[in-house]
């Protein structure tokens, strides 16, 4: 019995719960013409696990994707065809941004920033959003380094 076994038990135990949580968001998003199938939900949960693992992060809970749905479902750039795929891309962008800003920015700040760029400067393009976030994080890290240097 060790740390990984303790952590993995959470993932296995909660997978079905997470899928159902995602499907429950359909109740609200349906009004906007967006709906996730069980297969979409399963894909989003798997992507989340993969992304967290790839970027060396742990999330005990499911708050980020639910918040992304809440925030982005009202976007005019998201439709039924690209909904699930965009959510997958957005959650990856979110966790990359968490790492790149060295955990100094809170979840809500990052989501607000992503939404603002997505809607305005990126015109709904996830590729452009990635580029913009990279520039922001680079700038942020430089500021952090300067601050550290002063201290």
């Amino acid at each position: 019995m060790n740390f990984p076994s303790i952590l993995s038990i959470e993932e296995v135990r909660l997978k079905e719960f997470f899928i159902n949580e995602l499907l429950r968001t359909n109740e609200e998003t349906k009004k906007l013409g967006l709906e996730l199938t069980r297969e979409d939900a399963n894909q989003i949960v798997s992507t989340r696990s993969k992304v967290l693992k790839n970027y060396g992060r742990v999330e005990l809970g499911f708050g980020v994707i639910l918040r992304l749905i809440e925030c982005f479902s009202e976007s005019a750039f998201i439709n039924e065809e690209n909904y699930a795929a965009t959510l997958n891309d957005l959650q990856e962008a979110f966790y990359v941004m968490k790492n790149e800003t060295e955990d100094e920015l809170g979840d809500e700040k990052i989501i607000e920033l992503m939404k603002d760029m997505f809607e305005n400067s990126c015109g709904g393009s996830v590729e452009l959003l990635y580029g913009s976030l990279e520039a922001v994080s680079k700038n942020f890290r430089q500021k952090l380094a300067r601050k550290g240097g002063q201290a």
Partner: protein, 479 residues
């Protein structure tokens, strides 16, 4: 699978079933759960519930750690926070002397309750340990021993400053250099520091039975004996004092008398070689008993500590007798007084100011002839530190180093040799030629030229320098 009711009968049953040898104090709860499963005390559902409850605590701690601003953290942070939680749970469960009681608590109590009680106990332990540290600081030995002073003045305060029982309970964030006779490095966190300080207190208590002057004298003799600078080396003072007290008693002296003559030690070695191991053990037992009696040591922890050390001493003395090296185990008093007659050509009191030094370097750099450079150095430099700084300041080139060394007397060359070949002398090497042949790297360029200079000296002069090196107190001249 047995149902774990709280009856004494079942407690006894589980007492037999748990394999204590397999319990790991550093992962106590996890190993207790594992052994609990093996013994049928826990069902897999119960273990799974414990894990889920730990996850809940972790989730809350992550939120606390990120001040509610982030639901995710890096794997490293997760492991750190999880380790901290498990350390607190372990701390509570390790508080039970009886493994069975720990097991019952783990089965009966909620993990949250155990965690909270663990945190409370950690808080108390931290406060007790701080008190213990203050006591040690107050009663510390007044000795110029770098590792001892740095541990008390810097390492331990840094630990208290950084230690956080909520997020880093398992961490031992301190660079503790001073070595103790018993130091269990397998334990972590506040438990390690508490154990360290408790042992340091016991050792200090024993050392304080001697005057600082006597301790210093013994340390100096030890330094000369091993050709090392006792101020910077990692030496355990307690061990040195206790060894000499035991030898002193074995030689027929009082425990309070630290000095032993070479003759007495040789006679003792002769006697001990004829003694069988049972009688030797008895002699050591008697000597330790006499020490405790002579000093009227009443502190149980210290008596236990000294008694525990007896076994180490016994093993070392057997080894020393087999290798005919008892004289490197006990510190004997020095008979001759040649050292007192030795006059150092260097005078640290006459060291130059930074400005004076800079001016001299500029002046030397303007000279084209080696002779002029050497004249300036010899007329202005008095301290060893300044002399070595000049050697390192790129004022001299190639042969000029040799010409400068040639103007030095034997004592100065011996002193410089102690600086350049410190590690070799400390390791017991004596032959300068062989040291130079085998030394691959030098810290500074001038040291290489110095080695070349020594290698070319005649036998008679080298012999005289070697004799002087043996007389030098390495602690006195180390910079």
């Amino acid at each position: 699978m047995m149902s774990f009711a709280m009856g004494n009968e079942l407690q006894l049953e589980s007492r037999i079933l748990i394999d204590r040898e397999r319990l790991d104090e550093n992962q106590y709860t996890l190993s207790l759960l594992q052994e609990g499963i093996n013994a049928g005390v826990f069902s897999s559902t119960e273990v799974s519930n414990v894990q889920i409850n730990i996850m809940e605590l972790l989730k809350e701690l992550i939120m606390r750690y990120t001040k509610g601003e982030s639901t995710s953290v890096t794997v490293d942070t997760t492991e750190r926070l999880l380790s901290s939680i498990l350390y607190s749970i372990d701390f509570y469960l390790l508080g039970f002397d009886d493994t069975n009681e720990a097991l019952i608590n783990l089965k009966e109590k909620s993990i949250r309750k155990i965690y909270e009680q663990g945190l409370e106990q950690l808080r108390l332990c931290l406060a007790d340990t701080k008190d213990l540290y203050l006591k040690i600081r107050k009663t510390r030995l007044k000795l110029d021993i770098e590792a001892y002073n740095a541990t008390i003045d810097e390492a331990i305060p840094v630990f208290f400053e950084k230690y956080n029982i909520v997020f880093d309970a398992h961490m031992t964030m301190a660079t503790i250099d001073y070595p103790l006779v018993f130091d269990d490095m397998r334990v972590r966190g506040i438990t390690y520091i508490k154990n360290y300080l408790r042992n340091l207190e016991a050792e200090t208590q024993y050392c304080r039975l001697f005057s600082d002057q006597d301790i210093n004298k013994l340390l100096q003799s030890f330094g000369r004996m091993c050709r090392l600078n006792h101020r910077i080396e990692l030496i355990n003072i307690f061990e040195l004092l206790l060894n000499n007290s035991i030898f002193s008693v074995m030689c027929g002296n009082s425990a309070k008398q630290l000095s032993i003559t070479k003759e007495k030690l040789n006679a003792l070695a002769e006697n001990l070689r004829r003694t069988d191991s049972k009688s030797l053990k008895k002699l050591i037992d008697d000597a330790v008993a006499a020490i405790i009696d002579d000093f009227q040591i009443g502190d149980r922890f210290l008596i236990k500590y000294i008694t525990r050390y007896k076994k180490q001493f016994e093993a070392r003395i057997i080894n020393a007798l087999e290798n005919n090296s008892l004289n490197s185990f006990a510190v004997t008093e020095e008979e001759d007084n040649r050292k007192a007659e030795m006059k150092f050509a260097f005078d640290e009191v006459r060291s130059m100011s930074h400005k004076e030094f800079r001016e001299m370097v500029d002046k030397i750099l303007k000279q084209s002839k080696a002779e002029s450079k050497i004249n300036i150095i010899n007329s202005r430099v008095w301290s060893l530190q300044d002399f070595m700084d000049i050697l390192s300041s790129d004022c001299l080139f190639c042969d000029e180093y040799g010409l400068l060394f040639d103007t030095l007397g034997d004592v100065e060359i011996a002193v410089l040799s102690c600086q350049v070949f410190y590690e070799e002398f400390r390791d017991g090497l004596e032959d300068l030629y062989s040291i130079i042949r085998n030394k691959r790297e030098y810290e500074a360029e001038w040291q290489g030229y110095f080695a070349e200079f020594i290698a070319e000296l005649g036998n008679d002069r080298t012999k005289s320098i070697k004799a002087l090196i043996a007389e030098i107190d390495h602690g006195e001249i180390m910079l």
